[in-house]
Symmetry: C2
Subunit: 162 residues, 2 copies
DNA sequence: AAATTTTTTGGAGTCAACCCAAATTTGTTT
DNA sequence: AAACAAATTTGGGTTGACTCCAAAAAATTT
């Protein structure tokens, strides 16, 4: 058929699995919340779950999910739920790392874990990947944030990660 | 007259000159830009000046100025210009301090002055006064930011402070 | 299969930030 | 001082992000 070469291209692309082009500023704070929640849940997530956690009407969630799917972060099977695409997974990992690095950073300056977490949740979406990487590097790539092995249940409920 | 007591109240209030109730999250990033620019200019500032610096239509500036005046940050004399109220002055001082503390902080983690400044400009509006005070305290209230005695001309032009 | 629940769609509102065009005021020139 | 030019404001309108409500559609439960 005529589109064999396109299939080939997609194959190569998927196999390399790197999307190094993102700046970290692609998603609004709200959209990032959606993505982080879905990431945290692992596997398929239903609209209602997200709605009740993020405290918005299901119709709002449904529309946002469509947008995130269109942008390539999610697979959305209508009436069934969403899960992360490979890109979404990679991006969500960045989102969580960013949150944790910045939270850890702030706890080094007199903020409690909770304060740092809350503070960072407000602005993290505007910190670039480059900056996060530099900070991360400078901190020696800490494996344990202010929240390492802590259960994230509570955090998820409050809309941020510890 | 009937409103003597109100005048008296206002007198006391103005004389105490403290507005300790702000969280630091009152102004949007954009509004904060306006306030910082006006602060930097010292004295009365004209609409055109702000417009050309912030790269927006004068009509946009005019409307924003009205909003900032209504909120109590500016004195706005129609067709003449604006200057900071006492509250506006106090708030602008906080805005600049916040910018500089955060920029200084980021330069300690591998970002250049310019990178830190640009990065911080994007998110500073979402960092609370409490957090800034804690960080400031923890850093020993540094008198010199990454920009202490540097002329701020260039910075103003780029929309941020060094 | 019918009833109930979940999800989506259609329609619409709010809010911040923006621009254009027209009106108003100020400043400048003759 | 009148006329013109420049700056400022006002009126009206757009966009994008986020939101909700009501109705339709699909899935699940009974």
């Amino acid at each position: 058929m005529a589109n064999n070469k396109y299939q080939f291209f997609v194959f190569i692309y998927m196999n390399e699995q790197n999307y190094p082009e993102f700046t970290g500023l692609e998603l609004s704070p709200r959209k990032a919340d959606y993505l982080k929640f879905i990431f945290e849940k692992k596997g398929t997530v239903k609209t209602t779950e997200i709605s009740s956690c993020l405290q918005v009407d299901p119709s709002t969630t449904s529309k946002t999910l469509t947008e995130l799917a269109t942008a390539g972060y999610l697979n959305h099977v209508l009436y069934r739920g969403v899960d992360l695409t490979e890109m979404g997974m990679e991006y969500a990992e960045f989102l969580v790392r960013r949150h944790r690095i910045l939270s850890l950073l702030f706890t080094h300056y007199g903020l409690s874990t909770e304060e740092a977490c809350a503070e960072v949740s407000r602005f993290e979406a505007f910190v670039s990947r480059d900056a996060v990487n530099k900070i991360c590097n400078s901190m020696g790539h800490p494996m344990v944030g202010v929240c390492g092995e802590i259960s994230h249940e509570k955090c998820i409920h409050e809309g941020h990660y510890h």
